[in-house]
Amino acid sequence: MTATATAAAAEAGVVHKPSLRRKLVPYWLLLPGILWLLVFFALPLVYQASTSVQTGSLEEGFKVTWHFPTYWDALTEYWPHFVRSVLYAGTATILCLLLGYPLAYLIAFKAGRWRNLLLVLVIAPFFTSFLIRTLAWKTILADSGPVVETLNTIGFLDVTNWLGMTDGSRVLATPLAVVTGLTYNFLPFMILPLYTSLERIDTRLHEAAGDLYAKPSTAFRKVTFPLSMPGVVSGTMLTFIPASGDYINAELLGSTDTKMVGNVIQSQFLRVLDYPTAAALSFILMAVVLIVVTIYIRRAGTEDLV
């Protein structure tokens, strides 16, 4: 209908003028998707906010009583879990950056015709369900298995014992196991943005740095790394945010002493059925993540990235 009308207009030699109908096109395109997000993403947050200030019990039903102390109680009772979440997620993010940067650099600049193969190998682990892969870490980190034996022999576990990340000569059920799992699970989210931003760098800049007598390390520090900052920032956020809310690694690889906020939210919602506390915890987590990310972006100085 519109097609024939416009075609007829075009045939009559009428210059294309944006009609009201044309102006409305973007809104019609947006309507269904945005409606979906408003109803199933924005509205639920409102419901959760109202749940967090309710009191009552499952039998009698919950009522909004503007009971804000729930937040305070949740925070005083579960602050160690928040601290752990930020610490574990932060450590995993730093490890992801340290481990991911060389690989992203290798793929971007040194891989040559192996580049596509290496990229496939980075994405390939995704294809096996991540829960199955996380369970595989139980085998890898098994007590007195080859990995743990080696770590013991080279004295690595002495270092992590000193750091409080392990206790004795085992790895499973310690913070180290949880951080290992988190690092592993979110590593691709660090590598891919790093690779994208490294790949955009003009390699002639390296040559120019060399011509100006910069040592390779200086060239990296002054040219490559600053230019890869967009990748570093988005990679860190893509790693830190989901890691801070994760409860899978802490549940499968950790112990009761390594529970993160995600574990508490999950069990409050699905097992204890204390909805107000669970909702409050979830909002506090959101606030903590928001604060950490904002501070980080300010310091990284790339506000226009988001």
């Binding site: 924005a42 060389p102 870490w137």
Partner: protein, 265 residues
Amino acid sequence: MRWLRRNIIVIAGLLTLAYLILPNIVVMVFSFNNPAGKFNYSWREFSTEAWQDPCGVADMCGSLVLSLQIAFFATIGATVLGAMIAFALVRYRFKARGTINSLIFLPMAMPEVVMAASLLTLFLNLGAQLGFWTILIAHTMFCLSFVVVAVKARVLSMDPRLEEAARDLYAGPVQTFLRVTLPIAAPGIAAGAMLAFALSFDDFIITNFNSGSTVTFPMFVWGSAQRGTPVQINVIGTAMFVIAVLIVVAAQLISSRRKHSARSK
């Protein structure tokens, strides 16, 4: 020593790659295990039993089929809705663009557990029956943003003059869209759809909160970590890995051949 210093990046990169792939190898090797007890965590002896009867575990293949169904419908929903939003955002100038861009961005920038929990409070308050439909709604919601980003990237890089040219050649808007815009945007839409499928199929946290007693494949794996992990889980994991790698390799071969033939013309 000098060799080591020169190749330090290559060595470090390959070590990271090994770290990434190690669990997949373990999953593969342990799909040939014959474990002693209920848990398939330590090696006992070689066996192909699980491969001969991959669906020999109660409820596992049912959960797999359910996950595929949900991923299929969620992909269609998220791709249609997401592609429409992406076209509107790239191709049109209107007032609410900034607000809508942040509404799209937020679901990706929030810990999944927060999103999952808030959706659960919505469903609880509405008295909705948790199950297939709530999972489908939730998956469509969180896949949507990823589709928008993937399609936007492709549409942004496309030359608007191609559409102008089509219009100059008397193509109507529908014709222009079907014959010019859509074919150019297709790889972006396909990438978005594949991402949505993978995300939905593998999602655990949102499903964990909103599935009630319905068991998708990730939920089955999660439950098996408590009750006992059948070797068949490793078989499915390995098969998924192999199939997906084959698809990626085939796609690369096709695209490189196409590039090649385009160049030789």
